[in-house]
Symmetry: C2
Amino acid sequence: METKAQVLYDFTAEPGNNELSVREGETITLTNQNVGGGWIEAKNSRGEVGLVPEDYIETPLITPDNYKSHIDQTDQHCFSKMTSNGNDPWAVFDNNASGGVSNNWAAQPEGTETGKTSSNAWHSGGHVHPQAYQGAGAEDDEWDEEWDDVKSSGGYAESEAGEGGAINRGGAHVRIYTVFQGGEVGPVWAYPDYQLDCVVADPKKGSKMYGLKSYIEYQVTPTTTNKPVNHRYKHFDWLYERLLDKFGSAIPIPCLPDKQVTGRFEEEFIKMRMERLQGWMSRMCRHPVISSSEVFQLFLSYKDEKDWKTGKRKAEKDETVGVMIFSTIEPEGLPDLDLTEVEQKCEQFNRFTRAMDDGVKDLLTVGNEHWKRCTGPLPKEYQRIGKAFQNLSSVFTSSGYEGEAALTDALTAAGKTYEDIAQMVAEQPKKDLHFLMETNNEYKGLLGCFPDTIGVHKAAIEKVKEGDKLVATGKITTSEKTAMSKRASTMSYALQAEMNHFHSNRIYDYNRVMQQYLEQQVKFYEMIAEKLRNAHSQFTTM
Amino acid sequence: METKAQVLYDFTAEPGNNELSVREGETITLTNQNVGGGWIEAKNSRGEVGLVPEDYIETPLITPDNYKSHIDQTDQHCFSKMTSNGNDPWAVFDNNASGGVSNNWAAQPEGTETGKTSSNAWHSGGHVHPQAYQGAGAEDDEWDEEWDDVKSSGGYAESEAGEGGAINRGGAHVRIYTVFQGGEVGPVWAYPDYQLDCVVADPKKGSKMYGLKSYIEYQVTPTTTNKPVNHRYKHFDWLYERLLDKFGSAIPIPCLPDKQVTGRFEEEFIKMRMERLQGWMSRMCRHPVISSSEVFQLFLSYKDEKDWKTGKRKAEKDETVGVMIFSTIEPEGLPDLDLTEVEQKCEQFNRFTRAMDDGVKDLLTVGNEHWKRCTGPLPKEYQRIGKAFQNLSSVFTSSGYEGEAALTDALTAAGKTYEDIAQMVAEQPKKDLHFLMETNNEYKGLLGCFPDTIGVHKAAIEKVKEGDKLVATGKITTSEKTAMSKRASTMSYALQAEMNHFHSNRIYDYNRVMQQYLEQQVKFYEMIAEKLRNAHSQFTTM
């Protein structure tokens, strides 16, 4: 007998994963309830069969606890989305910057660092801690399962050069990130001698649960070890959550490419996601603080399954997260900044990132419209011009008049040229506008993180401002107040270093993308001119 | 005391003529009733003063006769519009070709040529004979007046080389137009050794009625005599009416450029009209029959005012008009065609001109849309792209980060480049699409004449078909029927010669205009590529 069940929540299948999209209220037939891993195989009314999360459907199998974990999973959003609550992320600065933020490292009396628990208070405004996503013991089983798959499909020998990373990871000490005076530009992070990068490539389809559930695994090869490791999208997502937890207060951690990005074809989708994961990873590699962090090194160059599992659990238990990160930042040889200066810098960066956010969004809007025109009405028009010439040519051919073959051939060629141009116009955005849009999209993501990062600083500044009152009412001692100011100064140096990092990357990225864009545009117009020159040469001079 | 009057009919002022546009029912103030020449100076409610035809306004001065003449004048339209009655001009062939056409040269018993009066019967379907426009004695006075103006503003000495033309004009003989066998293409007109052309240039403002009424006079210089003559638009219009009357049954006489073409600026309007008059005159010059006709020669190379006036009156009394023109056409050394062949040729030309009419109209539609896009949304988009780059550049300038001047300068330059491109895009249609459109517009006009020309032939064919019945019922003799067939054959030769003339001109015109179009398009795209290359070079490679 078939078991029917009602769908409780919308679920959108991830392409290429054997999943089935279902809508809330839909009735589906359960075709296999023994799939395991939290999945059930089901069939919808159109006869389509696929996997659906078991706790998305109304069956007696599901406990209330499971619901919660799965709802959290689907509710997980980009950091900036979480804190902004869907409103203008910049609005927090127009109102009371410290509103709703009550507890932070910079404002706490010395020695009362509370680590992870207190850092969570930062994620106000509807934030669900990412721990809810991948932390539970039951989920760990799934991870273990996967690692068996990875082992069977990938296979990686004992690392020879990976020892350095392992030592870092294994050590019990807390890594210190240094800020130096970097010449004219001011405070900068300490950059490594060798700039890390990695290549994300070779997406391969894997499967588990006896082939019922498939997934895409990407090969990630760091330029340091040159040894590839395999990662699924959910591993990238895990890394993102770890980095956001650990560095989000000091460093903008851009969202991963959309989980639900859909291409019309699976291949297109995978290619696009890979390209964006590559962009994200390269940006992370370029960051001196992130790239040298234990968790990032683990992701890029774990030796084996055991190494990964140990590192993973350790990373999840890391207590130096949230504002605690500032306790690991050391402004080397830099004098303490007074509050006015800290405030000015913060305001300046706020203004700049806000203005750039507007500028980038404007360019994206214009670019999107241009994309639409280039792939829609414009090529259609060139096609119609081409057809009109060819049509006239065939009318002329029917004239019965001798000796006009030269004209009709030329007119046909001109018509075909405009049809070619139509196609070129339609395909061009993929060759140039695409990269301009991708880069600006990346920057939009990065800039979207700044309100949160700057918000942390603003809140700290407000607390320091309240310091005198707290001293007067005997709530903190004078030396505790001095320590608060010093911490605000450290935060400001971190922000300045981060802004300088941002600026130098921005200059590099925009130079590169504009060069690429204009180079392709030149080629495009030159090719059109060349095609038209050919068409022109076919008309005879009289 | 001011005299007020009500406007009886809409009147649209011709630009640069000191005229005042008025609407039916509007009340105007008569400021000067003694202007003369059929005009009254009036002022509207907005205080604008100008000339209005006196019989367009309700005053006791106007007689019912005057009304008629003026209504005819404003009702005058292009020939094809007259016969089509506003419907599809091709429809006549889908219905009964001879319907409503009852009287023509080809169908008449030999020797009963009725000349002008009978030819008028061709202009069925609401046709008002152009004679109503400029024939009346009162109008002649105006012409005389004008000639005084022409004399004073232009001035032309006794012609030295004009004697040949004068002899032609003065002679009482009827000119015979010959059709030859022209090699592979079939029957052709006899072409002159020297191809006539003329230059329409140097538009000058003249005035009359003590400066109250102004007009534009164009200098027309034939390549034969190289002696300029002056003509106003109304003279061209007079020529058009004469040519239409005389040759319209055998040769498509395209309309003059619209009388009411309006440019936003007077200069633009005059330039546009001149360009189109030039196109029209060149086309007439290229035609062997038209260019050698007395009336055309008169227009191009009259010796003096007296010569002009004599020639003008003679032309208006010319009786070889309408279908009578075929009596002056001599197929030299060509055998009589049988009716089947005549009919086949006629059908073939009908199909071709109809198909070409569709093709030309399609190209015009596409071209119009492209024009709109090139002058509207497309440059706006390039402008917005340019602004977005420049905007980003100015945001970057505000970063306070040292050493990004190279990027911001380059980004500004790129932005300006796209603004330049916007302007280039907007101005380009005037440089290329314009001529493509003008040529196709000319052809649309020409092709619009063919239904009438072909209609004359179809009617003649139908009459010949009825010939046997007429012989049987004793209405015509057998030899009269033979003469009818012979005349149909002559008409067919004329049509074939005309089609061959049309084809050879068409091949020349389309080769020329496509070359011109593509050449300008190549330049356009090359210039864009060049500009973008410059913009590209300003970004520094890292």
